[in-house]
Amino acid sequence: MKKILLVGNPNVGKSVVFSRLTGVHVVASNYSGTTVEFTKGSMRIGLERAEVLDIPGTYSLSPDSKAEQVAAEMINNFKEEDGNIFVNVIDSTNLERNLALTMELIKKEIPLVVCLNMWDETKHTGIDIDAKKLEQILGVPVVPTTGITGEGIKHLVSHFDKAKLSIFKFEDKWKAIGEIIETVQELKHRHHTLGERLGDASIHRFWGIPISLIVLFASFSIIRFIGETLIAYVLEPLFNKLWAPVIMKLSTLLGSDGVIHNVVIGKLVDGQIDFVESLGLLTTGLFVPIAMVLPYIIGFYLVLSFLEDSGYLPRLGVLVDNMMHRLGIHGLAIVPMLLGLGCNVPGAMAARILETKRERFIASTMMAIAVPCFAQLAMVFGLVGKHGAVALSMVFGTLFIVWVLLGFFLNKVMKGESPEIFVEIPPYRLPSFNVLMKKLWMRVLAFIKEAIPFMLLGVLFMNILYALHIIDFIGKLTEPIITGILGLPKEAVGALIVGFLRKDVAIGMLSPLNMSMGQLVIASVVLTMYFPCIATFTVLLQELGVKDMMKSSAIMVFATLLVGGVMNIFI
């Protein structure tokens, strides 16, 4: 089958063009390195079907990061057969720099089409490009497009058949590009736009930090507002008024007790269902992911997607760079960390934007241990929330200190040095409502697909363990550690076992144990730190390799015992 490879610099809108061509939605954002692996899709050209490949952006064919390596390998292994073509997606507002990759692609001698994307932005940035002239010089089709609105995409597709080998010959790449720019591009003088002024202020040496604090405070407030509103007005009424009566009828049918009743509905508390503590598949198994975690996930991903598409994240990376550098990672590592707050899985993938193996190891280990995902956050709030702000800040304060110390320690003991930040800062853009909603939907769907099956599996697993008295048995075995070092009741080991699958099950398992505030704080920290979850573990194993993952896991266990033990002494 004919293959179409979408090639271009980072952040030129390849993923948006890809979605337009194939109808397959992939996450696109306004910063370099959103796409860290390739995505396949297919499209119809006339009567033919063609495969379209979206790959990570790259500045050249000599890669700088793991994501760029994925791209360079795919470009270098691309063969001229079956009518395969390159579609070189270019950011029209940055023609000169983008043409450098075009020159390298020309040398690959594979038929080429050039797509001048972000065409709409050239108008208000005072750039005038003569696409026809560029087409004559390069000898390949050159088509202006605006991926975000879909303008020019049909035109682009109609030129796929006309892809050719370029006739352009050159010796010195930059000299050749200089001459092309001279002929095809004209710049008009213009005044600074509001966006640019805002852009400069947000990385200003004095104003940058206060602005970032306002942005972060606003973000948290919006996430809380969305989460609390959805819970109070939609999800709790839904579960309490509609679902609970259905379950109560079912409970009576099943005889209010027994093995099947306990697995499906769980234990009744004072003759009633308790969605948190009943621990049945249809009660806790559904309530925790849907009514406790999902509302905050929606708020979080809405805010995160807005920040991503606006172009603020790389600027935040610049502001925190020198602090992060002391921890062995540079400012851009803020991206995997923030993604990890939603779910560690995409966070672990996003670590690919970091240049060296060393940085990826440090960032992934820090994230897996000390960045709580939403399931873990729900668990923390569920366990210690009733003790108020003091208890919560003890948990999050400890995790933050662990995060910092861990990075500091790894940076000290690991060989080598991490590279400094060296990255393009995208212009501010007003996020498109449709793109934002699609992205939110994709991420929420991914959460539901991931969380609900694992949660149900976790609840089922836990019931089996209890029924077979396995938890009692392991509890006795591990008592020296759980009670001796961490100061928790031995029954708490059940939460740790089921926590391999899903952390939020632990709320229901630990709540009936009548633990003190100190014990709950320690349990929250320990459960967050000792192991991410099986899904994250799998991705990390694939990203870091067996050897590094074993090291990382050893650090997790050691750090958990150390921190839990120290807290037990002081609390």
């Binding site: 500045y59 940055n94 940058g208 020198n322 400012g331 393009e424």
Partner: protein, 96 residues
């Protein structure tokens, strides 16, 4: 540590540069909002090629946008795009 690293760096003419670059003006010496022309980019082949692919090469005009406190990164404008550069890397970009 810093000095050791910098003594290892040779530019492509074979000169050694110290950490301070007393004799040479780097983008650290440009004020926010000022325009300057790049005279040389020194460092390893890898750094030079990465700089080049981001548009930072000899003869190109840049505008300094900001620098962060406590040896944080420098932000410059090259052509139509903005680039953030680590503090020590910025030492390797010499201006006229």
């Amino acid at each position: 540590m810093k000095n050791k690293l910098f003594s290892k760096i040779h530019n492509h003419h074979g000169f050694k540069h110290s950490n301070d670059n007393n004799d040479l003006k780097t983008i650290h010496n440009v004020k926010d909002g000022e325009v300057a022309k790049i005279k040389d980019v020194i460092g390893g082949k890898h750094f030079i090629s990465k700089a080049e692919s981001l548009g930072i090469r000899i003869g190109v005009q840049i505008t300094k946008i900001s620098s962060q406190m406590m040896h944080g990164p420098i932000t410059i404008k090259v052509g139509q795009s903005q680039i953030a550069i680590g503090h020590r890397m910025a030492n390797k970009i010499i201006i006229e």
